[in-house]
């Protein structure tokens, strides 16, 4: 008879664990209930992948037993943590593992697009960079060099150079249009760097910290009162990860949906033009499960006249991931995940709204190629772009 395996549940002294990643895990005790595995979108397409198994291996193997495949297959979407009875921070655990194992792995993180996007972030961390990142701003839009409100564009000006199948700059133009309509002239700075999201989640903490410090410097020096971004990843990073590196912000960090909600409530912004569309909303993991902002985007959708908004079956903390996290995992299995989510969306509506430019890119990429199974016509729209349409 084999001896039963005992998992050290909730290790009493976190400092006793030598590995930082294991400490993260030990703050809560995994009870090996396997709920995470059945919530995991990766498990549905790859039965061998199981967060529970990874945790078990991490404990038994002294912290070095997570295989490279398991390490990079995780989307860090946080669906496992949302259903976990003891709230084991699995995405944070994976992130720390990636940081630790990045140097000893056979090859670098599998950034898709041949490492291009990772390299853009690396270049942004260089000191003497003189960017010219405001080319996408068209005529008739007002931006300033100084002011109370910063519009943090994120990697949006760079995305158009990589992803030809979707116009990412239209999100930026829509955001500026909305702010201009409410009498705000936002600051769009050439000093802005990448927010460091992909660097941090792909295990390059050094790059992330350099970027965070460089960004914090110009943002704080500008003396602005608030910072707005239309990207879920930038919002989560600036609001929740930056203070851990640079200390508390002297300004308010807002997602575009929060700003629109505030402006509508104050009566500074009115949606005059009906937008007669049937839409559903995809919760981006960084805005939803990571930053816990579920209501603001829905309030914006409800404020748009003529719009019919229906919820999908899996929403809020149970929302399904777009299939790619931090551009590190996209393969044939991703396509099955995207097919599943898009089928769900198409059964409810003909437009899927998302508040993250990256969700939009990943879903548009899928629709641009050849779907696994035929899909009813479905369009992916960004929340900010949709709101700008209602301005008339």
């Amino acid at each position: 008879m084999t001896e039963a395996v005992v998992i050290p549940v909730g290790v009493s002294e976190p400092s006793a664990a030598p590995d930082a990643a294991l400490r993260t895990l030990a703050q809560e005790g995994c009870i090996q209930c396997n709920k995470c595995t059945f919530a995991c979108p990766v498990h549905r397409v790859d039965v061998l992948f199981s967060p529970r198994k990874v945790i078990l291996q991490a404990y038994l193997g002294g912290g070095d037993d997570v295989t490279e495949r398991d390490l990079w297959a995780c989307l860090t979407c946080g669906e496992c943590q949302a259903v976990c009875p003891t709230q084991v921070p699995y995405p944070a655990f994976i992130r720390e593992k990636r940081e630790k194992l990045r140097d000893v792995m056979d090859r670098a993180a599998p950034c898709k697009h041949g490492g291009f996007k990772d390299l853009v972030a690396e270049i942004m961390a260089k000191p003497n960079l003189m960017q010219d990142r405001r080319q996408w701003i068209g005529d008739g839009l007002k931006v300033a060099d100084t002011g109370d409100t910063i519009y943090f564009t994120g990697c949006m000006p760079y995305l158009d150079g990589i992803f030809s199948y979707c116009d990412s700059a239209e999100i930026g133009r829509a955001a500026i249009r909305i702010m201009n309509a409410a009498g705000i002239v936002p600051v769009v700075s050439n000093l802005e760097r990448c927010c460091g999201h992909d660097a941090l989640w792909n295990g390059k903490r050094e790059t992330f910290e350099t970027l965070a410090k460089r960004n914090a410097k110009w943002i704080v020096d500008s003396g602005a009162k608030r910072l707005v971004t239309a990207c879920a990843e930038c919002y989560y990073m600036l609001k929740h990860e930056y203070p851990k590196v640079i200390g508390p912000w002297p300004l308010e960090v807002l997602h575009m949906s929060e700003l629109i909600g505030e402006l509508v409530k104050d009566g500074r912004l009115t949606f005059a033009k009906p937008v007669p569309l049937l839409v559903t909303y995809q919760d981006p993991c960084r805005l939803g499960r990571h930053a816990k902002e579920y209501d603001a985007p829905r309030e914006v959708l409800q404020a748009i006249p003529g719009l019919t908004f229906v919820e999908m079956d899996r929403v809020r903390e149970n929302s399904m991931c777009c299939g790619v996290g931090a551009y590190s995992n996209c393969d044939a299995q991703t396509k099955f995940m995207q097919q599943e989510r898009l089928e769900e969306a198409a059964s409810k509506a003909d437009h899927m709204v998302t508040a993250c430019p990256h969700c939009r890119i990943h879903f548009s990429c899928y629709l641009d190629g050849k779907p696994v199974d035929p899909l009813p016509p479905l369009k992916i729209v960004d929340l900010t772009v949709l709101a700008a349409q209602a301005l008339g």
Partner: protein, 138 residues
């Protein structure tokens, strides 16, 4: 030591590289800062190569392929053109506008390669050293 523009020249095996070879065989002079990397076809010109060259401190990136219609693989040069036009948007946003160029030289056009190398080097010289280079020689 004076600064000489360092150019990464990505040449296709069938035209660009042969042209560079011909330029050498005919003893034509072109700037010594032009460093040649041979690719089978410019169609395999990964956007990553362009950014990597800049990240490593090259002052310019020149891509030399076949003339339109004479690609050894039918359409590699056209694919490269399309790809590089897109990458150029990223390069310009990074403040490196004008440092990426594509040209064509057939296998017999050593002089075209040498002229392109000279002209591009002069163009880059006007732009100054790559700001991404950590230590710029005085």
């Amino acid at each position: 030591m004076t600064w000489e523009p360092q150019i990464a020249a990505f040449c296709c095996n069938w035209c660009g590289y042969a042209a560079a070879d011909q330029a050498g065989a005919a003893k034509m002079e072109y700037p010594a800062g032009v460093k040649i990397v041979r690719l089978m076809c410019t169609g395999m010109m990964d956007p990553y190569y362009v950014l990597r060259a800049f990240e490593r401190g090259f002052d310019g990136v020149l891509v030399v392929g076949c003339h339109v219609g004479s690609c050894h693989y039918k359409s590699g040069n056209l694919q490269a053109k399309e790809q590089l036009d897109r990458v150029d948007r990223v390069v310009r946003a990074l403040g490196l506008g004008g440092r990426l160029a594509m040209t064509a030289a057939s296998a017999a056009e050593g002089n075209v390669f040498a002229d392109a190398a000279r002209d591009f080097t002069e163009k880059v010289r006007k732009l100054g050293p790559n700001p991404l280079r950590q230590a710029v020689p005085a």
